[in-house]
Amino acid sequence: MSQIQFWSILALTACTLLSASAQSDYLTYTWAEEPSFEIPVEYADESEVIVMDRNGVEFVLEDNTFYQYELSHIVTYVQDDAAVENNNKVFLSTRQEDEVLFQKVRVINRQGEIREFDESDIKEGFDEQSGLNYEYFAVEGLDKGSFVEWLYIIKSNARYNGSMIRLGAFETKLQTSFELIAPEHLLFEFASYNGLPDVKLDTVHNEKNYYRLAVDVIPAMENELMSYPAANLAAIAYKLDENTAANSVNMSSYKPSIRNFYAYVYQMLSKADRKALSRVIKDAGIQDQMSDREKIIQLENYIKGQFAVLPYAQAEFETIEAVVNNKASTDNGYIRLYANAFDLMGIKHELVLTSDRTMYAFDPDFEAVFYLQSAQIYLSDLDQYLSPESTHLRLGYIPWEFTDNYGLFISRFDLGDLSTGVGRIDKIEAPGHESSQLNHGIVVDMREDVLEPTCHFKVEMSGHMSSFIQTGYESLSTSEREMMDFALKDFITAQADDMELKISNAEADVFGRKPLVVEATVTTSDFTTRAGNKVLLKLGNLIGEQTEMYNEKPRTLRIDNDFNRSFYRTITVHVPQDYTITNLDQLNVNIEMPDGTARFFSDYTFEENTLVLSIDEYYDRIQYPKEDFEDFKEVINEAADFNKVVLFLEKQ
């Protein structure tokens, strides 16, 4: 998503910020002439430790313009080769309108020798697509056991209505601090996340407020299965709340964002845009007698089948006329296209702005623009969502990163002839486990040949389990389809290469309504093992390896699932008349979470030498506290254990 452009749409309305001109403290900030850094013994074995991280932002009014000075001063201890390689390149990216006032780096090696890098070695790069500039250089003279000290100050237009700074990292951090300086009459509000203490007003000095927070140790973040480490990093958010000089309060509320975004989407349409809108509805084959749901599906299939999503902002592609003519636009262009088409067809809807919860979850109690990352559409009469920019999804499914998360819902409010947007904060519920399924219907016929049975597989996938294949299959070329078919065969069983595959419902238009069905029949000895005259049927291998949590360390993070899902499996085994199965008992299992939100359940019948086994497994809750980990692990591992089930067949 083109964040920068998106934010410019939400951008602030002007507000008067009376202030005496003052110089930023950071203009005189520098590092110690004689650095003395130490690595405490308890951290000396870690590959890389951040021994100091000082973050500051100061808001200053200069010549009637509100600026911010952003300070970053960071010292990293590099213990081994990997750390040297991580730190011998420095890369600073800034927005094109920002100004890097200065940037310097020095290396203090094990012997205490200091080497300051030469400013002439800074290279500059840019990317007009993303609107970013880069300053980068290779850090010279870096040895194992060195400290790298990096200091820079960036001046830019003040971004005061909501910013987040992550203080936690994947390395241990020591002496980490944050400071916000603002003119005395400007009061800021803060939120601390993931274990950080509150930011407090520390001092008032020279008509400036100094807000501060300091932490001695922030432990390194570790990756854990089924978690989003980035969303668990210690972080703080800040925003301007009050201007006591002008009696303005609640200054960073979502109100202006709502107004601006509403106007951007609905109120800047030209005549040509309206014409294009009618054309797209006509080209999509929408007819009056269709129900709202049919109209939505028809429009979405048409647009997503024919139009491309551009990865970067291109203003010229974002009017509705341009979207329709070019068949290509950015997510901003598509939001406009869908929302106005729905308006024209009289379909009630709301715009929903939210964040990616794998990075940071939307905080319903702290209004700040950085949470407004991506726009989705909520169709209130259907109680379903639509994702304009996700070509691999259809009505009822939006990227799961945005679900089980709060969001800002914007809808129309009519005032006589005028209309404006109004907002509310609400939860975007994740669809239930039935919405994304992976089901197996397997028949193993051992009657002809007990060692080389014929296996028929029918795999049904839906929702987030099938979205990419189901919506993309039609646009593949013949050779790309061949590759996809091989991948699907591999998914059924990695070892049977020469089976015929039948694929149905591999059409984007039916995604969300019919499952993708993959069927194959193969006569194979891949699932049987011989031990003398015994035959072992590796029943578990028929459904493939499952996620396991056998050797997990004590859990530190909460459990986060991507999306709710279920697995229904029926396995039928026809056993030859002269054989019997001696170990069926293990097939009865029932494990579930105490609140019933996740379950693994299996049971069987064995009649007339035919085994019919059914296994139901589902996960219907996205998040669990870490205290629930042991219970959750049991369900996951039960499924993983099933993969190891082997049946013993003996001649009677």
């Binding site: 074995d45 590959s47 081994d80 080769d81 990997a82 040297v84 390689e85 390149k89 790069g125 840019f126 990317d127 007009e128 697509q129 993303s130 880069y134 980068y136 290779a138 010279e140 003279g141 870096l142 040895d143 089948g305 024919q306 139009f307 491309a308 551009l310 970067y312 291109q314 010229e316 592609f317 003519n325 070019n326 068949k327 290509a328 070509t391 646009s475 593949l476 070329s477 050779s479 091989f486 990695a494 070892q495 290469d497 020469d498 891949d526 093992t529 011989r530 031990a531 003398g532 015994k534 072992l536 390896e545 396991e548 056998y550 001696t582 170990n583 254990d641 190891k644 082997v646 013993f648």
Partner: protein
């Protein structure tokens, strides 16, 4: 500069475009099932003289594509790459979009520039121009035309005949001014069809042209040799040109290429600094042989100088001075070579700057005496009347080992100002690269499988492991060991491990470890079934029927898994599978299993004796895998003694 060619292309393209939708339909039928067809791919190289009589080279590419599927808009983004050595002179792009029976021409109006970065090259001045074609849909076409000035006439690139997508018409034209003589090398392009048409006009301008029609798309595949191994291509070079009335040699043969390379390194200083001298002296204080001196220096560079490609202008071709590389603690391949040169020379060993192409450049110097032949610089030095090679970018290689990516390749060793030698890097035999896992298992009183093992790696296997071990520590190391050693099932639990000293650059690396696996043994009344194939080598390595490219491996190897089982006291083995072998040319295996006293010993020894396996061998390879799977489907039976 010659401009008329530009016009001809436009007339030609104009002719194609006038054809409009009826022709589009013909193409759509002709290429049904494809997503994209290159209707025209045209390369025009113009070699003339600038005002001062020096060579001037321009390259013009024209690509016209047709899109055959719904969702063609997904191909909207395109880009043109350029750099200081390949400067972008002009560019134009547009789409031709079906409108009823006609086509509408919609130009691309917005081009955006960005600096290119990659992991391997941090900075080399590369740029790209990125843009989007508007209104792409089924039946739409795009046209991209751009012109580059090739600043160094030595750097003419290969001209490929064929692409991933099918090509309807491929044209190559090379136009030379009077006095410019060309030579061409051909790869996968034998026979008269690949000979150019040559025309010389009255003024002495010569045109070499090639034209190809209806080329199938070329496949790519995982672990396949570089495109240049199998795609037909022509590598042009200027052999001589005229200057001040005289014919000047340019790139006639390897002598000329070496002259140019030599001129590039002629300007650098191989002087040492106090820092370098102190380092070399302290490294070699106790060294008594040349090999020790070389090893000490090479390993010091491996451990202390990082590979960072951070170059600008001619730095891409000229090595940085040793003193600067040492002080910065990083360099690219040339910089690392330059530092090793100075250090060795100071230590009294004769070093030589050397050029080499990695294995994805399938050429010999004699065949392709142009910079296309190589892409890398290493250092050669004499050792006991022999020549050995040191690759500064490899931070884990043994001193006497050239990285596997250079096996079998020719090295151009710069002996002196006007003397060079071409030396071939040996291909290491399979015995050099051994992976052997020896596992001893028992069953504990609870029925759990308990074991200990020793894994041994030699040769390139050892270097690969050393490279990883030098970079990971703590919990990452633990995870790495778990993933390396996991066997049996995902209930494998690693209880203890140790790694042999890998910092001493010994020939091999060993892991010693202990483990257990729950629920692995299958118990059925008085019987236990045990699958002794704890490691199923190559189980999933069948060549897919759809694979249409050869298969390449990093190095030849021997892979061996030995499993020894102590039969539990009150049990006896009542079923043990049979031995099996399969050998077919360059690959095969021996599987032996036998009972000795209260132990069952099984030994699977597999070998790969090739670097590239061509497609004709896939059936045999798959037979080998099927035979191995036969082994993996057998379990032994242990029965309670009566």
């Amino acid at each position: 500069m010659i401009r008329q060619g530009f016009l001809i292309t436009w007339i030609l393209l104009g002719g194609l475009f006038a054809s409009a939708q009826s022709d589009v339909e013909t193409y759509m039928r002709m290429y049904e099932g494809e997503s994209i067809v290159n209707l025209l791919s045209r390369t025009v190289l113009e070699i003339g003289y600038d005002n001062s009589g020096e060579l001037e080279v321009n390259l013009r590419e024209t690509d016209k594509r047709l899109y055959l599927t719904d969702g063609a808009a997904q191909f909207s983004e395109d880009q043109v790459s350029y750099s200081e050595h390949f400067q972008l002179l002009s560019h134009e792009a547009y789409a031709l979009v079906p409108r009823g029976k006609k086509q509408k021409r919609i130009p691309v109006t917005e081009f955006q520039t960005k600096t290119e970065f990659s992991n391997s090259i941090f900075h080399d001045g590369g740029r790209s121009l990125v843009f989007f074609y508007p209104s792409l849909s089924k039946g739409a076409m795009t046209v991209l035309e751009y012109e580059l000035s090739i600043e160094l006439p030595q750097l003419l690139s290969s001209m490929f005949i064929g692409d991933y997508y099918p090509t309807h018409l491929r044209e190559i034209e090379i136009r030379t001014a009077p006095g410019v003589n060309m030579e061409f090398s051909y790869r996968n392009a034998d026979g008269p069809a690949y000979q150019p048409q040559v025309k010389t006009d009255k003024k002495g301008n010569t045109t070499y042209s090639w034209s190809f029609e209806a080329l199938d798309g070329l496949d790519f595949g995982a672990q396949s040799p570089d495109f240049s191994y199998y795609a037909p291509h022509i590598i042009p070079r200027i052999s001589s040109y005229s200057k001040d009335g005289e014919q000047v040699r340019f790139l006639q043969n390897t002598d000329d290429l070496y002259d140019w390379y030599r001129s590039l390194i002629g300007t650098i200083s191989t002087e040492t600094s106090d820092e370098i001298r102190v380092i070399v002296d302290s490294l070699n204080a106790d060294a008594t042989t040349d090999l020790e001196r070389i090893s000490n220096i090479y390993y010091w560079v491996q451990d202390n100088i990082k590979y960072v490609a951070f170059t600008e202008g001619m730095d891409g071709y000229i090595p940085e001075d040793a003193v600067a590389v040492c002080s910065k603690r990083f360099g690219d391949c040339k910089g690392l070579t330059s530092l090793m040169y100075s250090m060795l020379e100071y230590a009294g060993i004769q070093p030589y700057f050397s050029w080499v192409g990695t294995r994805d450049r399938p050429y010999r110097y004699e065949e392709v005496p142009t910079p296309v032949v190589d892409n890398h610089m290493i250092l050669a030095c004499s050792l006991d009347n022999d020549i050995i090679f040191l690759d500064g970018t490899s931070y884990a290689s043994h001193v006497l080992e050239v990285p596997y990516a250079l096996q079998g390749k020719e090295v151009l060793v710069g002996i002196s100002e006007d003397e060079y030698r071409i030396v071939q890097v040996p291909v290491r035999p399979k015995d050099y690269n051994l992976y052997r896992d020896s596992i001893h298992i028992t069953v504990d009183e609870t029925g759990k499988l308990v074991g200990r093992g020793v894994t041994k790696f030699t040769g390139y296997y050892a270097s690969g492991i050393r490279a990883v071990l030098k970079r990971i520590t703590g919990s990452d190391l633990e995870r790495y060991m778990e993933s390396q050693l996991e066997k049996g099932s995902n209930k494998f639990a690693l209880t203890e491990y140790s790694v042999s000293d890998f910092e001493d650059h010994a020939d091999d690396i060993t892991f010693e470890y202990r483990f257990d696996i729950e629920d692995y043994l299958m118990v059925n009344g008085d019987e236990m079934y045990l699958d002794m194939n704890l490691v199923k080598l190559y189980e999933d390595e069948m060549m897919k029927a759809s694979r249409a490219v050869d298969y390449e491996v990093d190095f030849k190897s021997i892979n061996q898994i030995v499993v020894v089982l102590d039969i539990p006291h009150s049990f006896e083995a009542t079923y043990v599978p049979e031995a099996l072998s399969y050998k077919e040319g360059d690959f095969g295996f021996d599987f032996n299993i036998e009972q000795k006293g209260n132990q069952i010993i099984q030994d699977l020894r597999q070998y790969d004796n090739f670097l590239i396996m061509d497609q004709s061998r896939f059936a045999d390879w798959n037979n080998m895998i099927k035979n191995m799977r036969q082994i993996y489907r057998e379990s032994i039976i242990l029965s309670k003694k009566q």
